[in-house]
Every structure is written in C-alpha cells, then in structure tokens.
C-alpha cells in the first residue's frame, strides 16, 4: 500500500456515502448501481468502483454538492486519483510507475533513449543484403530487441492484474460477464452518459460525444494496428511471406486504416484534453497522461509517414523514429496510462 492509499479510499468512501443518500446520478454509468447495491463500503470496493469509473464527469457537473459546497463532491477526481494509486501500487517496479505516471518528460526521455538505441543498432547491425525495412535493420536484430520489449512488459502487466484481481475479489469470469464487458467496451457505454448524449469534457457542463468517439477511434485504431503486426508476424513465420507487403494484403489493409484511426483518435484526445478541466482528473499525472497520448500519436503518425515515404531516402530516419516510438510504447506499457484499458476491462469483468 502506498502512503496515501488509505486517505484516498477514505475520501472516496466519504463521497460515496453522500451519493448513496442522493442517487441522482444513478443513470450515468455502471458505478452508481454497483455502489447502491453494496451492503457496506470497503477499501476493496472503493478501489474496484474507482477502476470502473470512466471519468465521464457527468456526476461532477450534475452534482449540487460540487465545490465550493461544503460537501465538496468531486467524484471524478477522487476516483481518478484512486485509480492512479491502484496502478502504481500493483506495478513492478513501483518506482518506475510513479516516475512515468507523474513525469511526462520521463516518458519522452525514454522515447528518445529508444531512438538512440535504434540508431546505434542500425549502424552496427546493418545487414549486407535484404529488402524493404530489413535493408535497414536485420529482421533477427528486430526480433531480438522487440520480443523481450514486448514480452517482459506483458508479463509485468499480467502480474499486476492478478494482484489487482485478488485485491478486489474479482471472482470467476463467466460468459455473461465477458458479454457484458464486450458490449460495454465496444460501445464505450460508460462514456455515453447513459442516454447517448455523451459525457462532460471539453465543453464543461454541456454534454458531448467527442471524447467517446475519439477514444473509440483510438481503441479500434490501436487494435487494428496490433492485428496488422500480429498477422504480419504469422505470415512471416508461418507462411514464409516476408515484408514489405503490398497494399492489398492483410497487414496493410489493417494497418493503414488502423494507423489513420489511431492518429486521428489520439490527436483528437490530446486536443480535447487541453480544453477540459484538469481538476476533474488525477491532476498530478496530467503530464504523464498527455505524454502517453502523444506517444501513441507518434507511433501512428510515424508509421503512416513511413508508409508514405516508401522507396524514398527518408525511410531510414523514419523507420528509426517509428520503431523507437513503438519500442518506447511497449517497454512503458505497464507504467503508462496504457494500463487503464487492462484495469478497466478487469473492473467490467469483475462479478462481485
């Protein structure tokens, strides 16, 4: 437990108690119905509800007790802080999580370190022959770097999620809970405001679906890019069909639209974030969150640029930047905002 964990859980419990006597926000999201069904509030329940909250902010702008009222209700903020605390608490090593969550600059620094490494490797491991990307970086060298960069963070994440699942007592996963989770994620139901009017973000007290759509573009774009990479890997090893792939091939058909979606989605998210009130989120990690969005943006934008530059002299530089960004993204996964997707999926799956 971090120093501030009990304080955050107590503060969330204090606010939940007021909500429980009020119930006006019942229709906004999944948090309230689950809150009202609890026989009593425990630290584990507070943590679970915090990870279920999507920070749609509906319950802040609708609250008659938001500051300066003496009840001082700001559920989106305290739940964001508690989520942040959960992620840092379950991450290993914790210190890394704390640094990366609170220091966007550190994220950027790691990214640059990634570039430097790649440039270095390119210079030293450059193959004598090879086509496409592999002309610049040996395929085996890429695998040697990316496989651990991909697998180690995944292992770390799996460890964290298991420890989180134990803390909240997530229970057995059933088909019903999987279906519930799937449909909630696919529609981003908890950013819909309960009646498809959207959430409160860049327009303050007015509802808007902009963040919901930007988030879905990011999510689907990311998944398509991920699928593109996976398919390419299978094609490479399973079918012996090596990159570069033509446009009418699965990796490109998934990767190009995916990259465009991811680029537009993250760009929009960053723009919206600049317009929203930081005090309704975990204000101390605003920089880290922004750096994460920009990192994803860089991954997609450089990927698209690389594709556009095919056959030109810009490829070596763009490739190094793109791979550096991807590298940084993977390595940082357990310590950046990227974890929110995993924890929230777990919260949506939990049957308590």
């Amino acid at each position: 437990m971090l120093d501030n964990t009990p304080n955050l859980q107590d503060e969330a419990a204090r606010q939940f108690q007021i909500c429980n006597s009020c119930r006006y926000c019942e229709g906004y999201c999944d948090v309230f119905p689950q809150l009202f069904a609890l026989p009593e509030m425990t630290a584990a329940s507070a943590t679970h509800l915090a990870n279920l909250c999507h920070n749609c902010r509906g319950c802040y702008y609708a609250c008659q007790y938001s500051p300066p009222h003496e009840f001082d209700l700001n559920l989106p903020a305290v739940l964001a802080e508690l989520r942040q605390d959960t992620w840092e608490r379950h991450a290993r090593p914790q210190a890394l999580a704390r640094v990366f969550h609170s220091h966007g600059v550190a994220v950027a620094a790691a990214l640059i370190a990634g570039f430097a490494l790649l440039f270095f490797l390119m210079a030293t491991l450059r193959p004598e022959s090879g086509e496409g990307f592999y002309a610049y970086l040996a395929h085996n060298a890429m695998v040697a770097i990316f496989a651990p960069a991909f697998l180690l963070p995944l292992a770390g994440l799996a460890y964290s999620l298991r420890s989180y699942w134990r803390e909240i007592g997530g229970g057995r996963i059933t088909w019903a809970s999987l279906r519930h989770m799937g449909s909630s994620v696919a529609r981003m139901k908890n950013l819909s405001g309960g009646a498809d009017q959207g959430c409160n973000f860049e327009q303050g007290a007015r509802y808007s679906n902009a963040r919901r759509y930007a988030h879905q573009a990011t999510l689907w774009g990311f998944l398509m890019c991920f699928a593109a990479t996976s398919v390419a890997t299978l094609m490479h090893y399973g079918l012996g069909w090596e990159a570069p792939y033509p446009f009418w091939s699965p990796p490109k058909l998934l990767g190009v639209p995916g990259g465009i979606l991811l680029c537009l989605g993250t760009g929009a998210l960053a723009w919206l974030k600049l317009r929203a009130d930081p005090e309704l989120g975990a204000a101390r990690v605003w920089g880290g969150e922004m750096a994460f969005v920009l990192l994803l943006f860089t991954v997609s934008a450089t990927g698209l640029a690389l594709y556009a530059a095919t056959g030109t002299g810009a490829v070596p530089a763009l490739l190094a930047i793109h791979l550096g960004a991807v590298f940084a993204f993977f390595v940082l996964t357990p310590y950046t905002k990227m974890v929110h997707g995993f924890y929230r999926t777990a919260a949506l799956l939990a049957r308590r």
Binding site: R23, Y24, C25, E26, C59, Y61, A62, G194
Partner: protein, 456 residues
C-alpha cells in the same frame, strides 16, 4: 441604461423556462440571477423529478396518470386549499411540458432505486435538477439570452402601475418592456421566517439555496401587488439535525422514523411514529419537530432496524446502552430509559413487516405507535438528531391564469410571475412530490410567452 424586451428575475427552473419561451418568440431577454455561476439554479438545482399527467406511456412514465387522479392527489395533500382553476391548468399543461423539456435538453431516467416507486407519476431527471438547470442555461445561451450572475435585484420599479426597470444591488438599472418575476420564496430570510413563525424559526434549517430571501417578493408586495397564501405555510420536513444551515439538499433526509422511537429534548415521545409509511409522513414531521422545545428531536433505534431505511448521510450516534446513547446525545439517561421501558412494555406480539402498514401497534400507550412497534431491546442503539428543514415558503404573488401579477387595482399590464414566488396560489398547504417543478415549468412557459408577446 440597458434595455431589454423581457427582464427575467431569478435563475431557477421557472426563470429559465420563461426566458427560453420568450427568446424563442423573438424577444431580447436578460436573466438576472443573484447567485454566482457555480451556485446558479436556486432550489431547482436540488430537485429530482417532475410530476406529470399523461395518457398512456410517455417517455419514462408508465401507464396513465389522468387529470382527475392528479387533482385528487393534490386535494388530499392540500386539504382543499388550492385554486382549482390554476391547479387544473398546471396539471393539464404538464403533459405537454415533458416533451418540451426533452426538446430543450432535459434527459429523463426511470424512478431511482430506493425511492418509493414513482414511475407512473413522476419523471426523474438524469443527474438531478442541476443537470436540468445546466441544460436550460446552455439552451438559453444558444438562443442568445443574456445571462447575468451575481445580479441580485433589490427593487422592481412599478410606478404608475406598470413595470419600468429593475435596480441591482450595485445600483445598476436595467429597463424592460416586460418583466417575469421568478425569484423563489423567502425561506432563506431567517428574520422573515422568525416574524412569521416566532423565535423558534432560528433553529430551522433551509434545505435549498441561500439566495431565495424574498427581496423581490417583499418589494412588489410593498408596492401593492396582491398576495396569496399564509406566511406560516411552507414545505417543512424533518431532516438530519447535523445538516448545513443552507443547501443541504436531498441527502439530509432521514427515513428512520417509522422504525424508531422519537423523543424530544426532555426524553418524551410526542407523536405516533408509525402512523403511515414515511413518504406520506415526512412532511408533517417538520412541523411536529418545530413544535418541540428547541425545535429538536431524536429518533432512537436498535440493531434490528439497521438496513430498513435509506442510509443517512451522517453516521448515527451509537452506544451499547440506552444510558450511554442518551449521554452521547445530550439527553437525560433516566428520562430516555423510562420512555423506552414504558414503550417496550406496551409492545405486543405480532408479525413485523417493513414498508407496509403491518398493524403491529402498541397497547395502552399515549401517544401510540400504530405500526412497526417492536421493543427497543437489541444493542447497539442508534440515535439520529432531527430538525425542521424548510423547502420553500408558500406566501406569494397572486396571479391570473396567464401568470399575470395582480396589483391593487387589477392586473399589472407587463408583470408576470412563475414558480415558488406564486406557488401559494396553488399550494395553500401540504405538498405533492414533484409539483414544484410542474408549477414552475407550466407557469414559467406561460409567463415567457405572454411577456414576449406583450413586448413584441
């Protein structure tokens, strides 16, 4: 001096409905709200639902709620103290209001969990009244209405029997061709409450906004506008005694009384706690507590009653013995123990069923407890402090069916009123849940339309 077609005084539901209607009719409108922006919306920001007549399912409302049934419900609570024409008008118009509200950004949800099922009669606002108020402000802004916060109106110039201008607290004057008064009741003016109620009113808590001080109401009454209603009549409920003086809102309600024994400062019982289910009794308990010494009472339960009522926002005082509880509450232990012993002795065998009148009554006790009377014998014991909480006052302006304010010599040609400031015409006494918003919406819309057509 700034000049508008329609000046709207107030910034709650009634004011916003009037401003939106007037702006849609093409008028240049200004809203003068005395609260700062983050406190805008008066009592309306604390509301949760709207009572609505309807034939067949309508939006989130199920079944049918006809005019006569609605009117009968109103007559029952007001004991006939209502203006039948205005009341029926409000009821009939409510049906068209619901779709109008949806068109102007209000989103409804089904009846909330933990409320007595109201899904046939009352449509609940998603997010509550503040979400409704936010939607209306956004709509008014989009229609080009000028919105002024921190703009308390001190004086409405009605010289020669018609409206000319208003004067704000800082001395600024704003002129208009017509005015809509929608500035709420006077409950936040404790001096006025004390004059009407006596010194005990100082101990009342005000459930809603501190900005409804009746300044405009007093000002226009002093200039000869006709009043309706009795200054001692108000919606006054028993709430948690630890609630803030103002703006505690819905969460300060205490629903434990039917399953408790209620004593006053001296440790004596004073009324049948089990007379009826709480939604039908909470409104009389405000007055009952107001009549006790120091305007305070204590509801005492034991372990058995935990979980039978909505959780209160403040944790109760808890003790293993009645004497310990009395001490923690500042009561005499002897007196409380005696009262409980007398009550326990009067309890009879029978089956206890929460939520419905179970007839489990005391025998030979004065006053009796006629339902849910189980002995108080299972520690730990819990104590909840009760005080009167005023929702809104009923003394108001007399209006016509077109929401026009009546002067000493007939209607004032360019003055309209809506909401709490005229609710006394319809609510002589008693209250029907969700009817405050109905009155404000129906008469706010009428006032806005009339004022705009006068100005245009």
């Amino acid at each position: 001096m700034l000049q508008y077609d329609v000046v709207v005084v107030g910034g709650g539901n009634a004011a916003l409905c009037a401003a939106i209607e007037a702006a849609e009719a093409g008028a240049r409108v200004v809203i003068l709200e005395s609260a700062p922006e983050h406190m805008r919306g008066g009592n309306s920001r604390h509301t949760r639902n709207f009572r609505c007549m309807h034939h067949g399912p309508l939006s989130v409302l199920t079944d049918t709620y006809g005019e006569d049934e609605y009117y009968d419900d109103l007559l029952r609570v007001t004991k006939g103290q209502t203006d039948p024409t205005l009341a029926r008008l409000a009821i009939r118009d409510s049906e068209a209001c619901l779709p109008w509200m949806e068109r102007h950004g209000v989103i409804f949800q089904g009846s909330l969990s933990g409320t007595l099922s109201l899904d046939r009669t009352n449509a609940f606002f998603l997010g509550g009244g503040k979400a409704l108020v936010n939607a209306y402000y956004a709509c008014a802004e989009d229609l080009g209405v000028t919105i002024r916060y921190n703009a308390e109106v001190l004086h409405v110039d009605l010289s020669d029997g018609r409206f000319h201008s208003v004067t704000l607290a800082d001395g600024e004057q704003i002129a208009g061709r017509a005015v809509v008064l929608a500035s709420g009741g006077f409950q936040a003016d404790l001096d006025w409450l004390t004059r009407a109620w006596g010194p005990g009113a100082e101990n009342f808590l005000i459930r809603g906004t501190p900005y409804n001080r009746g300044v405009v109401l007093r000002d226009v009454l002093d200039q000869g506008a006709q009043s309706v209603g009795d200054p001692t009549q108000c919606h006054c409920v028993a709430i948690d005694g630890r609630a803030p003086k103002f703006d505690g809102g819905i969460v300060t309600r205490l629903d434990c009384v039917p399953y408790a024994l209620v004593v006053n400062r001296d440790g004596d019982r004073f009324y049948d706690e089990g007379e009826d289910v709480w939604p039908k009794r909470y409104a009389i308990w405000g007055r009952l507590v107001a009549a006790q010494p120091d305007q305070i009472a204590y509801a005492i339960t034991d372990q058995k009653a935990q979980g039978l009522f909505m959780p209160p926002v403040f944790a109760p005082v808890k003790a293993e013995t009645l004497g310990g509880l009395a001490q923690a509450l500042g009561l005499s232990g002897d007196a409380l123990e005696k009262t409980v012993a007398r009550y326990n002795a009067a309890c009879q065998d029978g089956s206890f069923t929460p939520g419905v009148l179970d007839g489990l009554a005391t025998n030979g006790l004065e006053p009796p407890k006629t339902n849910w009377a189980r002995p108080l014998d299972t520690p730990p014991y819990y104590g909840y402090m009760l005080r009167p909480g005023v929702t809104f006052t009923y003394l108001g302006l007399k209006v016509s069916e077109r929401a026009q304010v009546q002067g000493a010599h007939g209607p004032l040609p360019n003055v309209w009123a809506a909401g709490e400031v005229m609710a006394g015409s319809i609510l002589g006494q008693g209250y029907l849940a969700g009817f405050g918003m109905t009155i404000g919406t129906v008469f706010g819309r009428i006032a806005g339309q009339e004022a705009a057509s006068h100005a245009g």
